[in-house]
Subunit: 207 residues, 2 copies
């Protein structure tokens, strides 16, 4: 029969401090790794014009969302400004079962929850080249006071210590390079010998 390179998909969790460039790298990955499926969040906020249920978000009532929390149907969740946001486990599992890799871009706190509930994920921490560069990226947004910038930097420096709990650290010096590193991690993880034996214990049969 030989080896089937299409085993179960992998959940890739891409996290890192604010200002590391998670969003930019994810956008670039949509071009460089079009086979990746992006996790769809659930939320209780109202759909904006043009947003499609199941595509942009799974739109839920507050009662439905709280039911999902109780039933353990979320890989992580948080509340912002009176609305819930979270990652439904079912969508992720369905994609993985279909052999597709799923990317979840998420804040450090959310990633921590995912790690507890889905430890078999591949956890990638995105690193800014330096704190100086991080500062200039946060300042570059131009939307915050100097005090707010300093506070965000302190928070980011603290979040950086969380890299310890991740499998990989990817330097985001240039977006294309960071993208190539994430894509390479994905390919390499699929080639891990342990994974082959785990997912397809009989793949050596017929060899």
């Amino acid at each position: 029969m030989g080896i089937d390179s299409k085993g179960r998909g992998l959940l890739i969790v891409l996290s890192g401090p604010s200002g590391a460039g998670k969003g930019t790298v994810c956008s670039a990955l949509r071009t460089h790794a079009p086979e990746l499926v992006y996790s769809v969040s659930a939320t209780t906020r109202k759909p904006r014009e043009g947003e499609v249920d199941g595509v942009n978000y799974f739109f839920k009532s507050k009662k439905e969302f709280e039911g999902m929390i109780e039933e353990g149907e979320l890989l992580e969740w948080a509340q912002y400004v009176n609305n819930y946001y979270g990652t439904p486990r079912r969508f992720v599992e369905e994609q993985l079962d279909a052999g597709r890799d799923v990317l979840l871009e998420i804040e450090v706190q959310g990633a921590k929850q995912v790690k507890e509930r889905f430890p078999e994920g591949i956890f990638i921490f995105l690193l800014p080249p330096s704190l100086d560069e991080l500062a200039s990226r946060i300042r570059g947004r131009g939307t915050e006071t100097e005090e707010a910038v300093v506070n965000r930097l302190k928070a980011a420096a603290k979040e950086l210590r969380e890299v310890e709990h991740y499998d990989y650290a990817v330097l985001n010096d240039r977006v294309e390079a960071a993208c190539d590193r994430v894509r390479s991690i994905l390919i390499a993880e699929h080639c891990r010998k342990d994974r082959l034996f785990q997912e397809q214990p009989d793949w050596l049969e017929g060899m």
Copy 2:
């Protein structure tokens, strides 16, 4: 200071059964991963015209080679038709210290020796898509009797079990795809968080 992506180099050991396509993949890697350094073997056979000492081989006398064996200066060695062949550790270590990744293409038996003497290497096993394909590749060389082909196939089937001792299994269905997988493994291994902390324990300083 930030993270230095130029830590110590990695030794990549590419092995696999006869007919898996090790040589073809290595040739392709010279184009697709030109930054890789290729391990240079030592041998007691006489240089052929145009062969340069230290480039094609390190040419040694029998006495010199046996001294290297005794001093543990070889990562692996074997004897074929009255000549010794082996992989000098020093050349590999010098390249790794200079931050360069080294590729060692080698038979399964040699890889076993390297694993004992250099367990921190990255061991990649190249897989033919199937035994049928392996048979047609071995036959395709057209240099052997049917009996010899059958014997080589039996040997290859036995060697396939050795994949168990490797870190990665790379399917060689298409040379470009196999090449991309090897290159990805290299990039991913450099991004492993454990490696970063091991090689540059202070890289978070100044973050």
